[in-house]
């Protein structure tokens, strides 16, 4: 399934810097990955690791003082970095859509639900008649489990879960190929969150779109994603099939992270792994591998040279010297066989 032809988005060597008075903060550092058609990719990391910045960069929504300093984004064969403003406006919304954590700040408080959706259609497809657009809106909203009469409501009249479904509808109404959900379920209660997760999966199956799920909640990714990418301090440190990474995490950070996630099951994880230290400040990231000050397996070369993200086993990519050769490496390289 995950063959070369099936690639929707290719991100190559992407870096984003925030230019602050105290110097550049490298929030995304030389990140390379692909998103396949129709997959749910979970992008996890702790606060400040650059996951949201990366999500925004995919839509080229990076505003000053931040700047995409290098890299390429190829979306369905087109180079997004070369788009002019007009192309970008068409691209955002129609091809790729974003859902944020707080729907109340994304929806216009003085616009009714149907006005939001019809406006979206008319901006991107001005030739569509209002009646046609309305019809589309009605079928879609019902599909998402919102009653038709709620279309005349204002955002504040809806519950949190419904608002978030309106945001999803805004992405679906134009048949976007990719929805970026940035902590989209974080402000919801667990039961509502679980229902939204079910719905996202159904939508993916039905519409065949890809979802990039950005979240700090690793358990949630285990619940929904096909593949997972783990970010630490601006870099993707491990990426692969969800079961491969959970069953056999390779990067020391991923190992620690997965073992520190609490589980509600009584017979699972009696003890949590306690990782030392805290994520670094990205205005002065550690030299070499950015995880080396917290890493229990760090070698002398880890503080001097930064590894690259390499495919260690089929489909599993790791950003760690343990699995890569280097002339100055003292230890033998771990070979992974799956």
């Amino acid at each position: 399934m995950n063959s070369k032809e099936n690639i929707l988005v290719q991100v190559k060597n992407l870096s984003v810097n925030y230019l602050t008075r105290l110097g550049a903060v490298s929030a995304v550092d030389d990140v390379t990955f692909d998103i396949y058609h129709g997959e749910i990719l979970g992008l996890v990391g702790e606060s400040g690791c650059g996951k949201s910045t990366l999500g925004k960069a995919l839509m080229r929504m990076i505003m000053p003082p931040a700047k995409i300093s290098q890299g390429e984004i190829i979306f369905d064969g087109e180079n997004v970095m070369k788009f002019d403003q007009k192309q970008l406006r068409d691209f955002r919304g129609r091809r790729i859509s974003m859902i944020f954590q707080d729907p109340m700040t994304s929806l216009n408080p003085v616009q009714r639900v149907d006005e939001h959706l019809i406006e979206a259609i008319q901006v991107h497809e001005p030739q569509t008649a209002i009646e046609k657009a309305m019809e589309r809106v009605k079928t879609l909203i019902e599909r998402l489990g919102i009653q038709e009469r709620r279309l005349r409501d204002y955002p504040h009249q809806l519950s949190g879960g419904m608002r978030q479904r309106v945001m999803i509808a805004l992405g679906l109404v134009l048949n976007a190929n990719l929805i970026i959900a940035d902590e989209a379920t974080t402000s919801l209660d667990v039961i509502v969150e679980a229902k939204l997760v079910d719905q996202l999966r159904e939508i993916r199956d039905e519409f065949g779109l890809a979802i990039l799920m950005i979240t700090h909640n690793i358990a949630l990714v285990a619940e929904i994603a096909d593949r997972i990418a783990v970010m630490y301090a601006g870099q993707i440190v491990e990426m692969g099939d969800i079961t491969d990474v959970f069953d056999n995490p390779l990067h020391p950070y991923t190992k620690g992270l997965l073992n520190s996630v609490p589980s509600i099951k009584l017979d699972e994880r009696e003890e949590l792994y306690k990782m030392g230290g805290e994520p670094p400040n990205l205005s002065h990231p550690p030299s070499g591998c950015r995880f080396h000050p917290r890493c229990l397996e760090a070698m002398p070369l880890c503080s001097r040279f930064c590894p690259t993200l390499e495919e260690i086993a089929p489909g599993q990519w790791v950003h760690c010297w343990l699995y890569q050769d280097h002339p100055q490496k003292e230890r033998s390289t771990t070979k992974v066989t799956l």
Binding site: G160, H216, A222, E223, S260, L272, M275, G276
Partner: protein, 339 residues
Amino acid sequence: MSEQNSSINNTELVEISHLKKWFPVQQNFLDQILAGHIDYVRAVDDVSLTIKRGEAFGLAGESGSGKTTLGRLAIGLEKLTEGKVLFDGIDLSSLNQEELRKLRRRMQVIFQDPMASLNPRMSLGDSIAHGLKIHYPEKAAEHRDITFNIMEKVGLTPPHFFFTKFPHQISGGQRQRVVIARALITNPDLILADEPIAMADVSVRALLLELMVKLKNELNLTYLFITHDLATAKYICDRIGILYLGRLAEMGDLREVYGHPLHPYTQALMEAVPVPNPHKRRTKVMPAGEIPNPINPPSGCRFHPRCPIAQEICSQSEPELRSLRQEHMVACHFAEQFL
């Protein structure tokens, strides 16, 4: 541990009986006249529970379930509408401001956001020692030693390094340690911890949890641990109460409740919590709807409009919290079928 002022039963530190807290919706007199009546948000509506000395009691529920209000009532931060709160045998509503202030030494709070609960212009040392200045002004000479000692206990080492620092100069995890140290400085019996680690990152959280468990054992503390995260509660709480719309749906020993949830709401909650294991994905369908408006809660059992096993009686009569297993109470008419 001070035993001299405890009354009839000294194994129970907090006793809450039939506690209610209703907030008026129309807050000023004019609005009340114009509306012709007063609506109330029934944040806490007839809750009874006891917290034993030395245990960690978890209070879990979704947003709007009243867990924070209940916590604040338990230490007298909020005035109750009806009912009674006994702290070590002392009725909180019988105390005047000054007496309550003195008692506060024995009950301290840790809030969710350490940045918001620390004064940005006060050095960490001053923040931590502040409680000593208020409650033990006569021991001024020892304040620095006591502060250093507690800073070491919570892992702010070396203390003299952190003593003069300010909140913005340290990391989030360290800030939460400062808040914990500040709460412990007056040598309290009860700690109200309202989502104390919800803001911390996963990789930092486990260490904070371990610290809280360690301190509880070392200093013989009692925790009232408020959380929306049932998975985290497993690692710290001995007993747990599940709140729904201001009422307890289920309460009991944590392992007992998690092992055999008897209330359909608890069952749904437990099922909804994502499990960090892609091989054990949830297959059950979640109940419909969201937590209703607490101004007009549903009649009878408050969960009945969303409940998969609701029958006619559920909309008419409110189920009492009753003991169905050892150390396990549930408020549901039809919980027997899950035994």
